[in-house]
Amino acid sequence: MKKIEAFIRHEAFDEIRNRLADMGLPSMSISEVKGSGRQGGYTESYRGAKTTIFMRPKLKLEIVVDDNDVDRAVDVILELAHTGEPGDGKIFIIPVDDAVRVRTGERGDVVLAPHPEDAPGG
C-alpha cells in the first residue's frame, strides 16, 4: 500500500474529491500547508514596509491506497490539478507498511478497499 501526498491548489480540490469518490476512493485527508517551489513569491506591504512571501497557501492531500489504485488516483490528481502555471504542485508516493481501521480493528488491504460514498448522516 502507498500513501499519495499531493500539494495542490485549493481550487482544484473539490473536483478531485468528487472524481475520486466516484472511483470508490472517497477516503482521504486534507490539511492546510504553505509551500514554495517554482512559483515565485508575492509582495506583502504594510505601512510602507514590504516583504516577499515565498510560502504560499497550498492544500495537502493525503490518500492511502492499495498498490493497484495508486496510478489511477495519481492520474486523477494530475489531470484535475493541472493548469500549466507554476504552482500547480507536486505529488509524492510514499510506501506504507500497514493500515488499521480503528472502528473494527481490521488491518491490511481490506482497510483500503474501494467503497461507495456514504450518504449524509451515515
Binding site: 491548489r9 485549493h10 473539490d14 486534507i30 506583502e44 506591504s45 497557501p57 492544500l59 502555471e85
Partner: protein, 485 residues
C-alpha cells in the same frame, strides 16, 4: 396632483405637537436660546447615533464577507463615509435642500450660507425650509443630520457588491451617488420637491434612504454578476460570512443607531414626542427578529442566525417611514411582516441567480417598500396631526394615500435604478467595476491592498471553488498588489 401648499413635509411631520399652549406663545416670540439648544442637541445627538451606524455597517458587512476580503471591506467603509461627507458638503446638500425647483435644489454649495437671511434661526438655504419655520436649529445641525443619512444609503449599496468589486470603480460610484443621485431623490420629498407636493410621506427614509440604497445595490450586483462559486450547476451554494459575532455586533449597533435615525428625524425636541417613535422602532425591530426566525424556520427549516440579525434590520427599515404615524400594535405588525418575508425573498433571489451577500435587497429594499406602503395602511388619525392625510386603509381610511405612496416608491426605484445603471455601466466599460478572477480568488485584501485583513490566520476553505475556475492560476500572477503595478 392636488396642490397641498399648506401641508408640511413628511419630515416636518415629526412635529407631533403635544398641544401645550405655551408652545404657541413661545413660537410667536421666536424660539428661546434654550429651545434652540435643546432642539440642536437632539438633532446633533441623533446625527451622532446615525454616524455610529457606520460601525454597524462595517461590522455587518465585514462579518458577512469572506475572510480574505475582510480588510478590503474595512477600507471601503471608511473611504465611502469620507466621500459621502465631502460630496454631500460640496454638492449634495445644495441639491437636496437648497432653493430650486421641484426636481432639485440649486443653492448652498459647500454649505455656503451667504444666501441666508439674517435670522439666525433660519436654515439659510431653502426658502421652503424657512417657510416651514419649524426647524429651530442652526443649519449646521441640519446638515450634520442629513449628511449621515446619505452615508447610510451608500453603505447599503456596497454590502451587496462585496467580495468582488474593484476599489477604484466603487470610489467613482460613491462620488456620483452621494454627490448627485441620492440628493436629488432626497429633494423630491424632504427638500420640498414634487413628491412632497403630492403628499408622499416617508418620515425617516424607508424609501429615500433604504429603498434607494437597495435599488442601487440590485443594479450593482446585476452589473457585477454573482461571486465566483455562488451558483454551481445552477444551484445556489452557501458562501457564509466569516464571522457571525462581528455580524451580530453590527446588527445591534445598527439597532442602537436607528434610535437616532428615526427618533432624531423629528428634527427637534421641544413639543415633539420622540419617545413614541423610539418605542415603535424598537417594537418593529423585535418583531422583525421574531418574524425572520419563524420565516427561516418555515422556508429553510433551520434556525439561521444570519436571518435573525437580518430580521432586525428588516423590521427597522420597515418602521422607518411610518414610525411617527402608527400605533405600537401596528409597529409590531409592520416589523413582523418585514421579517417574515425576508427568508422567502432570499430564496427567490437565489432562484433567479441574484447574488446579494448581505441581504440588502430583502431587508432594505423589500422591507423599505413595505414600510413606505404601510403608512397608507396603518396611519392613525391622532398621529397624523396637521398633515391633512387620511387614516390608513386598514383603519377605515381611503386608498388615496396608498396610491401616493405607491408611485413615490416607483419614482424612487425608477430614477435610482436608471441613474445607477448608467453609472455602473460607465465604470464597467472604463476603469472596470470587478476585479479579475485571479484577484477575486486570491481575495481583495492581498490583491488590492497588499496585505491580508487577518495576516496571521488566513486560511482558505476548500469547497468554495467551482470547476469553472479550476484553470485559473489563482494567485500565480500576483506578485504585487495590482494598484502598485
Amino acid at each position: 396632483m392636488r396642490l397641498r401648499s399648506l401641508r408640511m413635509t413628511s419630515v416636518a411631520a415629526g412635529l407631533l405637537l403635544l398641544g401645550v399652549p405655551g408652545l404657541a406663545a413661545a413660537a410667536e416670540e421666536g424660539p428661546t436660546p434654550t429651545d434652540i439648544a435643546v432642539n440642536s442637541m437632539w438633532v446633533v445627538l441623533g446625527a451622532i447615533l446615525v454616524l455610529f451606524m457606520q460601525a454597524g455597517f462595517a461590522m455587518l458587512e465585514i462579518g458577512l464577507s469572506r475572510m480574505k476580503n475582510a480588510g478590503a471591506v474595512a477600507g471601503k467603509i471608511v473611504i465611502n463615509l469620507s466621500i459621502a461627507i465631502l460630496m454631500f458638503w460640496a454638492t449634495g446638500f445644495a441639491l437636496a435642500f437648497g432653493d430650486g425647483d421641484g426636481f432639485w435644489g440649486q443653492m448652498g454649495w459647500f454649505l455656503n450660507a451667504t444666501d441666508a437671511a439674517a435670522d439666525t434661526n433660519s436654515l439659510g438655504l431653502n426658502s421652503f425650509m424657512n417657510a416651514i419655520g419649524a426647524y429651530n436649529i442652526p443649519v449646521e445641525a441640519f446638515f450634520f443630520f442629513q449628511v449621515v443619512f446619505c452615508a447610510v444609503s451608500l453603505a447599503i449599496v456596497f454590502g451587496t457588491m462585496l467580495d468582488r468589486t474593484k476599489f477604484i470603480g466603487y470610489i467613482i460610484f460613491a462620488v456620483v451617488f452621494t454627490g448627485f443621485i441620492y440628493p436629488i431623490v432626497a429633494h423630491w420629498t424632504w427638500g420640498g420637491g414634487w413628491l412632497y407636493q403630492d403628499g408622499f410621506l416617508d418620515f425617516a427614509g424607508s424609501s429615500i434612504v433604504h429603498l434607494q440604497g437597495a435599488t442601487a445595490a440590485l443594479i450593482g450586483t446585476l452589473v457585477l454578476g454573482p461571486r465566483i462559486g455562488k451558483f454551481r450547476d445552477g444551484k445556489p451554494q452557501p458562501i457564509p460570512g466569516h464571522s457571525i459575532p462581528l455580524f451580530m455586533l453590527g446588527v445591534i449597533i445598527l439597532w442602537v443607531g436607528w434610535m437616532g435615525f428615526n427618533a432624531g428625524s423629528t428634527l427637534g425636541a421641544v413639543g415633539l414626542n420622540f419617545a413614541d417613535i423610539a418605542v415603535n422602532t424598537n417594537l418593529a425591530a423585535a418583531a422583525g427578529v421574531i418574524g425572520a426566525t419563524i420565516g427561516a424556520l418555515l422556508v429553510f427549516r433551520t434556525l439561521d442566525v444570519s436571518q435573525m440579525g437580518n430580521g432586525a434590520i428588516a423590521g427597522l427599515v420597515a418602521i422607518t417611514a411610518p414610525c411617527a404615524f402608527v400605533d405600537p400594535w401596528a409597529a409590531v405588525v409592520i416589523g413582523l411582516v418585514a421579517g417574515l418575508i425576508a427568508p422567502p425573498i432570499v430564496v427567490l433571489l437565489d432562484k433567479i441567480r441574484i447574488d446579494d451577500p448581505i441581504g440588502a435587497i430583502p431587508v432594505h429594499g423589500i422591507a423599505g417598500i413595505w414600510g413606505t406602503l404601510a403608512i397608507g395602511l396603518f396611519a392613525t388619525e391622532g398621529r397624523l396631526g396637521e398633515l391633512g392625510v387620511s387614516q390608513g386603509l386598514l383603519l377605515g381610511g381611503s386608498a388615496e394615500q396608498l396610491w401616493v405612496q405607491f408611485y413615490g416608491i416607483a419614482a424612487t426605484i425608477g430614477f435610482t435604478g436608471a441613474a445607477t445603471l448608467i453609472v455602473f455601466l460607465a465604470i464597467k466599460y472604463t476603469v472596470g467595476l470587478r476585479v479579475s478572477e485571479d484577484e477575486e480568488l486570491a481575495g481583495l485584501d492581498i490583491s488590492e491592498h497588499g496585505m491580508y485583513g487577518y495576516p496571521e490566520q488566513f486560511i482558505e476553505v476548500p469547497g468554495a471553488f467551482p470547476e469553472a475556475t479550476r484553470h485559473s492560476a489563482g494567485m500565480a500572477s500576483l506578485s504585487r498588489p495590482t494598484t502598485s503595478g
